[in-house]
């Protein structure tokens, strides 16, 4: 019985692994996700995080969603001789073995049409969507600007 089951198990594993490993959601480790508290009256903010690719092929973040926003876009800032130009990007690549940082002044999740105001200390649920359709749920900590500047 056991002798018969073993090859079947082995076969099952070899079939399962390729389908499993390499999915972007599995390869990507999310580092310190956070969102900026919104000043009164505003419905636009920004979300930040690091993404580490533990896999051996490139992955791309292609979208993000949250029940608390009407829309999330992937944006970057170009610092053109001191002029900050904010522009959408189609995707955010994460090289194999590499880490891509979304941080103030550069790449960010543009959180738009925020429904419930973001208050420091709360968590905001966001779903990251990758190029292969795999998804990853994260909880971004909402931070007041004074919590950012402590780092300096």
């Amino acid at each position: 019985m056991l002798k018969q089951l073993f090859p079947a198990l082995l076969l099952g594993l070899t079939l399962a692994i390729p389908a499993f490993a390499g999915s972007a959601a599995d390869d990507i480790q999310v580092i310190d996700p956070w969102a900026r508290e919104v000043p009164p009256g505003l419905t636009t903010s920004a979300g930040f995080l690091g993404m580490k690719n533990t896999g051996d092929k490139e992955h791309k973040l292609v979208a993000a969603e949250s029940a608390n926003t009407g829309m999330i876009e992937l944006h970057t800032h170009i610092n053109d001789k001191g002029v900050m130009r904010m522009r959408p990007v189609e995707n955010i690549p994460i090289a194999p073995g590499g880490t891509t940082m979304l941080q103030p002044g550069g790449l960010h999740l543009m959180l738009m049409m925020i429904k419930k105001p973001l208050k420091a200390g709360e968590k905001m649920a966001i779903t990251l969507v990758f190029e292969d359709g795999s998804k990853k749920d994260i909880e971004a900590e909402v931070r007041h600007f004074t919590m950012e500047n402590m780092k300096h």
Binding site: R36, H77, V83, M84, M110, M113, H152
Partner: protein
Amino acid sequence: MKLLFRLFLLLLVSASSVHAWSLFSSAEEERYPGMGGDFTLQSARGEISLKDFRGKVVLMYFGYTSCPDVCPTSLGALSAALKKLDDEEMQQIQPLFISVDPERDNVEKLREYSRYFHPKMIGATGNLDYLQTLANRYGAYFRKAEVEHSSMGYAVDHSSTIFVVGKNGKLADMIQHSDSPKRILEHIRAVLEE
């Protein structure tokens, strides 16, 4: 002959002192020749003019409230620097947020937004042509940029500089975008002590 030599010496000394004085004064009066100057804008408390704040150091920042990252980062750093000032220093400071997006930013929205960063910060705006002229005079840049494939409609490309106006109403310093609260504080204190 001796008298002539003395006269010559006197002339030399007075000439050089006049020269030194003019150098000193030009450095004091015109650090940024032809730049800056007075203006009047609308705020939730009514019209405000740069002239209203003579005797104070005015810290001016051009931005817009739907700017999700650059403006809060700069204003947050400015706010952190202001928190380090003592009460006496703070009495001589007036922070001012100037919106270059009057289409979306009304004065009430600007009051709430500015207060969030500092209780003393005033939010103000004006009509677009006036703002453009004002920005040009200070060497600030902004331009409405239609953004394709985005539901934000348009962004405003803008420079991210804190303009420091001295107690005499003249432009005294410019603090660049990436400066830390510590560096911002040094810039502010230097102008306060002038």
